[in-house]
Amino acid sequence: MLSKKRFALSMVVAITATAMLLAACGSSSTSGSSGTSVNYSGTITIWDDWTGAYLSAKQQIVNNFMQQYPNVKINLVTVNLDDNKLITTEKSGVNAPDIVAFPVDHIGTLATAGVIQPIDSYESAAQLAQTYTAPAAAGVQFNNHVYGIPEVTEIVTMFYNKSMVSASQLPTTTSQMLTFEQTYAQQHPGDYGLVWPPNDAYYNAGFFYAYGASYIDGQGNTQIGSPASVQAATFLQSFNQYLPKSLNNQTASALFSEGKAAATIDGPWAYDTYAKAIGANNVGFAVLPTVDSTNKPISPFVGGKTFMVTKTATNVPLDVAFMKYFTNESNQVTMCVATGEIPANLAAGNNPQITGNAVISAFFAQTKNGVPFPNTPYMSAVWTPMANALVADFQGNTTPAAAMSQAQSLIQKGVQNISGN
């Protein structure tokens, strides 16, 4: 059953092992006592995209840190997180940040571009593995170096509307998914069973990985054109007879919010909206179904937000100390209870306050079936071809096999564009 998952796991182990080796070599020179030599003074500028309730919960941790170390001043700057923007800013050095809180999939690009620095000497891969959940720890490692401290984990899972459907009626396998769509629509004319954006490469990744195809690996190899991938595309295409032709992120989310769809696939960021729209009591969660033919659960990307130290950072030990403080168990528990995010800290994830939280624990449960969000720069070659292929596939404009082989050729060209020259 778990050959794919085991493969992914063994990869994680392998990466972790090599990183540990490297870290061991590194730590002998810098000595493990770097923790004690932190100079707790100066200003830390952090780029983030926190707003609203998120911001106030996080600002609280920052304030506590500043209270504990009165000589440290921390500026939180809300920006539109963009690789190019960070690169140009680092180049000019004007208002450059010390820490950036980027989505984890940016690590490969930013590390290759040289704007963030490895922090192996402050946090080894072994330490990471002890402190943070496996996918979170894997996400911050790139090219055998530790490039960040994970903050929160993100994944998509199934939301359902308790007033429209009961947990027992929800599909647990892919064949049930199709029956569910069909019967729900028949029994409730005008409404839909499960809706999700069929045109979105991120939301649909789990299907492809569960069928045994991966989007991209660290060397830029893609399996989008593989038979497994075509099977996934064929499965996705078979939904077009039950689902609205023009389904996309906006309409899927609107349908679920308006009580016209019994279930949807979405991430923790959408919880607030749905809780407001259909009532928090009506929001239920379920782990995504299992693929019949492979017997593997749908395996969405486990991504998240990560703190990274920029090249122009002035006091790296302090920055790392802050990052570790921010993500320690107690801070993570308080923060995640307030924001509904999934903690990256292992102990926080097992804390009763978190396990007792229905929302967080639902996402936490889904992460067990997830695959690490590729943090390779090659991933940027996947998004557009995959999105276009998924639309053509879902709308029935092409055969699944044609859509996937076309996507494959475009992705390969994109990878060449990135690695070439």
Binding site: P244, S246, K311, Q406, N421
Partner: protein
């Protein structure tokens, strides 16, 4: 033409040229330089990029030979249809908004420029929704009147409707711009001229064609050309609505894959992060556009009336 001393002419033109030399010419020169290097997201900061000669141009043109010409023709068709509709709708609206018999002119004018005042990244997505097959108001209204739940145009999912959709959205975004300029230009036509033509027994259409239009041409040529340029380079709005699609084969240009979208889709891996290639793209688009403009001038005899003066 007035005969004025050279230093006076220089004084009038100096500020324009100073600014242009600094802000407009340098980026072009710099882009030419970058187009000859392999600069990208990954080596920009580390500054370890180097000259690659014409490799970027070669790789774009070698891959583009089958698709580039259809894409340019499609884009020119889009420009022609858009500009034609901007001119017609802009002209009609401006002439009516210039009619003193209409009550509440100021309010009508303000209402009609509203589309232009609202940020287009929000309105573009609203338009995408208006054209939505299942839930969009257009199809819903159609279904309501035909009493047929299966009625509806798959606006963004079939090639010609998708093309029409992006024309309509661009018309909506741009006609206020034409209305305002034409409204201004109409002010240079003395009312007496129209009145005199009326006395001569000219019909409305004759008056428009023989009095108004000839006098408007010099004033509306600039926006027509400028808007042609921006439409040729249209990216954001179309990207948000159709992303270049619908596609039957995603390795080939889609029904709304205009020049900039096409380059974005196929040569820069979904993001303009390969600066060398993006720069080469810029130069190629620049040259294509220059050819189109000069051909347009030749066809319309734009510069003829200039020399006649």
């Amino acid at each position: 033409m007035l005969q004025v001393k050279k230093p006076t002419i220089a004084l009038f033109l100096l500020p324009t040229f100073l600014f242009i030399a600094l802000i407009n010419i340098f980026p072009i020169a710099y882009t030419v330089y970058i187009s000859l290097t392999n600069e990208n997201t990954f080596n920009e900061f580390l500054q370890n990029y180097h000259f690659v000669g014409l490799k970027n141009f070669q790789s774009i043109l070698s891959e583009a030979n089958t698709a580039l010409i259809p894409v340019v023709l499609l884009t020119l068709l889009y420009v022609a249809i858009c500009i034609g509709s901007f001119l017609i709708i802009g002209m009609l609206t401006a002439m009516i908004l210039n009619d003193k018999r209409i009550r509440g002119l100021k309010i009508w004018r303000a209402l009609i420029i509203l589309p232009w005042a609202m940020p287009s990244f929000v309105t573009a997505l609203i338009w995408k929704f208006l054209f939505d097959y299942n839930f969009g108001p257009f199809n819903n209204i159609l279904r309501y009147f035909t009493q047929n739940v299966n009625a509806g145009v798959n606006w963004l999912g079939s090639p010609i409707p998708a093309f029409i959709a992006v024309v309509v959205v661009n018309l909506w975004l741009s006609y206020p711009f034409f209305t305002i300029v034409i409204l201004g230009a109409l002010q240079s036509i003395p009312e007496e001229l129209n009145d005199a033509a009326k006395v001569d027994g000219a019909s409305t259409w004759q008056r428009f064609r023989e009095v108004t239009l000839p006098l408007l041409v010099p004033a509306i040529t600039p926006i027509t050309v400028m808007s042609g340029i921006t439409t040729f380079q249209m990216f954001n709005t179309v990207w948000l609505i159709t992303a270049g699609g619908p596609f039957t084969d995603i390795t080939k240009p889609g029904a709304t894959d205009f020049v900039m979208l096409y380059f974005y889709n196929y040569f820069t891996t979904g993001a303009f992060t390969n600066y060398g290639k993006a720069a080469a793209t810029a130069i190629i688009v620049f040259i294509l556009l220059l050819i189109a403009i000069l051909a347009g001038f030749r066809l319309t005899g734009f510069n003829r009336e200039e020399t006649a003066k």
